[in-house]
């Protein structure tokens, strides 16, 4: 017998072509808008044109008169069913349909259900709403003003616009570090509001069947089981009578985690009409009302010793959450994992205060392609590190190397209490610097400057916490953040695997089968993977925060091992030896000392149905619920070089080098695809992609003509490198990766432009680094703020 070649069977490390592509390239995907049910009606939402206004009246009489209109719902009507408000996944409430007042532009005011979507849109336009405008708040400074209107006057005991006021770390110890500092480096900046903006918007089809009392909802959800729990609580429908199906998703990036009013309205409409009701959001609705990312202000300080050692870090952040605190949040941490900042540096002490504010802007603060706010955490860190190295006159790379946690210092306790467990930060830096030709570029930069050309290089290095939880520290609404996998091997050795995660393009159907192949020796092509149907999948917390591989992926490995343990008993029976005498190699059990006497895993599967030993339960299947002992801590180093045109402020990317250590790679092709996608979103945020507001609360960036996303033309090429430090606690040594480049990337672009400007009078330009902002910094030699409000004629 020759041993199976793991790469040939599509196991770990194989760049296996994706299974799901077979339907996508034929246009045979099954996205929510592709689903048509018999008798289906269509829902459209009427949204508020004003950011803050009292509702005097809503007159829907003209809408009811339009032929084909089946139902018009208003806030008043929702209130009679106790559904005008719903709980959020962040321990707040959110209006489903406005009753008392509207609190942001785009808020849901009424909805129409009609025979077709055109009629429903016509009817929305026939609804007359009388508004009384109120003063508008578009940033935290306005929210904190003494005479600020109280946005959330619906809440008892809410006498200001503060969502939370939270602190973590050692205040006194940090104060002492600052007293001993040779140099204190300060940085103030705003991480602008951005929108995850998957190309597919949100939507749902609710189908309530009166005969069975069962509610089926097809919807765009990254976390269908959480939605099932939320629907059970809000709509008071028994959980077993709710089936959530998340079909193919056209991207998610965090946008499809929260519960949105449109879902709730379509459910209620279906219950009232006893017909399936489809709601498909348009792009403008998606951009102005659903979960955004970022919108956080930093006041940062670093205490430094002359020789470059960081003695302490002090940070205050103000987060603008809009009208409702409606993203998903681990209950113990108010601003997500912001306090994972500076985890890759060996820092004795640090202190963070964080305030969340209500404003008259779209609600949320979702983790847009990041693990609960770590994008802000790492951007702040790497912008502060850049400024600190400059303040000390030190080389950017050497300043980082001096302060990195060393390879032999793991496990390492970060100043805010996280435990990082593995990494080779110095090695990643070496790989990156060699790839970019660091010293040569510095010389080239100096030479170019003599001729009036502005070249710059930016570094960003970070380790981030991916794969929540463990259950001790991480829960949402009290539900612990574990995940699950269920594996059933059929008698011919083919199998079906279901997990509690939900792919939105990550390729789970391909990679999960590779883990099974690695653990059991079944060819990956013999394993079907299914996700997203709460009636069949085991309970899991879904896919976001780069948690699929760290948590559900671990569950896939663990359930495969459980199945292998039973297969070993079957093998012993077939080989007529005791279990202790059975050895395993990939795909096959054999008798110790007699390697020619063996049975394949497929033969064991057949025996599980046709020839099991006396007393053994038939079948070959199991389920695993995996509660990770810790987060995984991948490391990313991103280096960008740019040239800035001093005459226009336009900057071009010259090169982008990425060094990612995400532990063991299951499918290198897919990992690299994730990294390139992440780098593109980093480039997008640094260069063009943001949502802002004028003083009246009008959203600037409410469609793709105003909300700029990079195309193939603007997007630079990427050079990828890898270092592998296996995760010590993950069963296959993997770490999360989907978000690393989005998290670590933006600072590399900004630092590169700041380096090209090379003026100590310019400490910061807020993202995106639009040409006019860069030009202003170059000519006026000052910081450039991008915080709202913007002039409405901009």
């Amino acid at each position: 017998m020759t041993a199976l070649d793991e790469i040939k069977i599509g196991g770990m490390g194989a760049s296996r072509k994706r299974v799901e592509d077979n339907r996508f390239i034929r246009g045979k995907g099954n996205y929510v808008d592709d689903i048509v049910l018999p008798g289906m009606l269509h829902m459209e939402i009427l949204r508020s044109p004003l950011a803050h206004a009292r509702i005097r009246s809503v007159d829907a009489s003209k809408a009811w008169e339009i032929p084909g209109v089946r139902l018009v719902m208003t806030g008043e009507m929702m209130a009679t069913r106790n559904l005008a408000w719903m709980p959020t996944l962040s321990y707040d409430t959110q209006a489903v349909l406005a009753t008392d007042k509207v609190r942001f532009q785009g808020q849901e005011v009424a909805c129409v259900i009609a025979d077709d979507p055109y009629i429903a849109k016509d009817a929305c336009e026939a609804i007359v709403v009388d508004y009384e405008p109120l003063p508008v708040i578009v940033n935290p400074t306005q929210a904190m003003a003494a005479d600020a209107p109280i946005i959330r006057d619906d809440k008892e005991n809410q006498h200001d616009n503060v969502v939370y006021d939270w602190e973590v770390g050692d205040r006194a110890g940090t104060d002492r570090a600052f007293e001993q500092a040779d140099v204190i480096s300060k940085l103030e900046l705003h991480y602008p509001r951005s929108h995850p903006s998957p190309i597919e918007c949100c939507g749902s089809i609710a189908d309530f069947n009166r005969a069975t009392s069962k509610l089926t909802v097809y919807m765009t959800s990254q976390a269908p089981h959480i939605i099932r729990a939320a629907v059970a609580l809000v709509a008071e429908i028994p959980e077993h009578m709710i089936r959530i199906v998340s079909p193919d998703l056209g991207g998610g990036f965090g946008n499809k985690v929260p519960v949105y009013p449109g879902y709730v309205m379509s459910i209620l409409a279906s219950i009232l009409l006893e017909r399936p009701v489809k709601w498909i959001e348009d792009k403008s609705g998606n951009l102005i009302s659903t979960g955004f990312g970022r919108d956080v202000y930093l006041h940062g300080q670093m205490a430094l010793r002359k020789d470059g050692k960081i003695l302490g870090v002090r940070m205050h952040t103000d987060a603008d959450h809009g009208a409702f605190f409606s993203d998903a949040q681990p209950s113990k941490f108010k601003i997500g994992l912001m306090h994972s900042t500076f985890a890759c540096y060996d820092i004795p002490t640090a202190h963070l205060t964080a305030r969340g504010m209500y404003t008259n802007k779209a609600p949320g603060g979702v983790a847009y392609r990041c693990s609960f706010r770590v994008t802000e955490a790492m951007f702040f860190q790497e912008r502060m590190v850049h400024a600190a190295a400059n303040d000390l006159g030190m080389d950017q790379a050497e300043f980082r190397r001096l302060n990195f946690v060393r390879d032999d210092d793991f496990p390492h306790r970060t100043p805010f209490g996280f435990l990082t467990d593995s990494g080779q930060y110095g090695k990643c830096l070496d790989v990156g610097l060699a790839a970019i030709g660091y010293q040569d570029f510095l010389k080239e930069k100096e030479e170019a400057r003599k001729h009036g050309r502005l070249l710059g290089i930016g570094l960003s290095s970070m380790t981030e916490p991916l794969g929540a939880g463990n259950s001790r520290e991480y829960d949402i609404l009290g539900i612990k953040m574990f995940d699950s996998a269920e594996l059933r091997v059929h008698m011919t050795g083919k199998a079906i695997l279901r997990t509690g995660a939900k792919s939105q393009g990550q390729g789970h159907e391909t990679t999960w089968a590779q883990i099974v192949a690695h653990e059991l020796g079944l060819p990956a092509e013999d394993v079907t993977v299914e996700e997203g149907d709460t009636d069949t999948a085991p309970f899991g917390m879904g896919t976001y925060a780069s948690r699929s591989t760290p948590v559900a992926g671990a569950a896939v490995a663990m359930v495969s091992r459980k199945v292998r343990a039973k297969a070993r008993k079957l093998a012993a029976h077939l080989l007529e030896v005791s279990e202790e005498d059975v050895e395993w190699e990939l795909g096959r059990f054999y008798v110790r000392g007699a390697p020619d006497r063996g049975v394949t895993i497929q033969e064991c599967a057949m025996a599980a149905y046709s020839n099991m030993p006396d007393g053994m339960e038939p079948g070959l299947e199991n389920v695993s619920y995996y509660d990770p002992p810790n987060l995984t801590w991948p490391f990313g180093l991103y280096i960008v070089t740019v040239e800035v045109d001093p005459a226009t402020g336009v900057w071009d990317v010259l090169r982008v080098v990425a060094v990612d250590d995400c532990g063991v790679r299951i499918n290198p092709m897919i990992v690299e695809g994730q990294i390139m996608g992440g780098l593109t979103e980093a480039f997008a945020m640094a260069s063009m992609q943001f949502i802002t507001f004028d003083a009246e609360g009008n959203c600037v960036g409410s469609n793709y003509m105003d909300y700029l996303l990079p195309t193939a033309w603007e997007t630079p090429g990427f050079e990828l490198h890898e270092v592998v430090t296996p995760c010590p606690h993950h069963p296959i040594g993997a770490k999360g990766v989907g978000e690393c480049a989005t998290v670590g990337g933006p600072a590399a672009f900004v630092n590169a432009v700041m380096d090209a400007i090379g003026d100590s009078a310019v400490r910061n330009i807020d993202m995106p680094l639009l040409p006019d902002r860069v030009y202003q910094a170059l000519t006026e030699r000052c910081d450039v703020s991008g915080a709202p409000p913007v002039r409405s004629d901009d």
Binding site: K17, R18, E20, D21, N22, R23, F24, I25, R26, G27, K28, G29, Y31, D33, D34, V36, P67, G68, Y118, S197, P198, I199, E200, C201, D248, L249, G250, G251, G252, F253, D282, K283, S284, Q504, G505, Q506, G507, M669, I670, E672, G673, Q674, M676, G677, G678, L679, T680, E681, N703, Y704, M705, L709, T711, A712, W713, T715, G717, F718
Partner: protein, 176 residues
Amino acid sequence: MSSLYEEIKPTPASDVPVRRVTITVNGEKRVAEVEPRLLLAHLIRQGLRLTGTHTGCDTSNCGACTVLLDGIPIKSCTMLAVQADGHAVTTVEGLATASELHPVQEGFKDEHGLQCGFCTPGMMLAAKALLDANPDPTEDEVRWALSGNLCRCTGYQNIVKSVLWAAEKLRSQSAS
């Protein structure tokens, strides 16, 4: 009558004008009665049930709805169905034959040119139009030809490689 049973809807109170259009879709002549305001994307998706054409942005920016009109890529979300009357439309469903994928489709799978798959049909049709006109494009020409189609997952690098892969395959096919 196109089937054994067709429901006749009662005439709505307001007289909705209806126009008859004849469109050749993926080589097959289709006749439909449509409201003049009906968008071509909606006729293709809801009327003809060809759901591979996606709608993403409604403003001609994202290109998920790209189809070929007489071989030229257009955004079907901002073209009225009546404007397509008498023309030939190719959607993603028309790319492959029953037995064989189009090289652009093969290229996207081989070079990992897609992740969530939502932009992919439009991307592939824009790519096909490019390769029909320019069988040996440079990387810059590919990037320019695809600049009307947005992707949020891949970062475009593999999409460009996919198109270049397809170009090479098409050239070698026509050479042999």
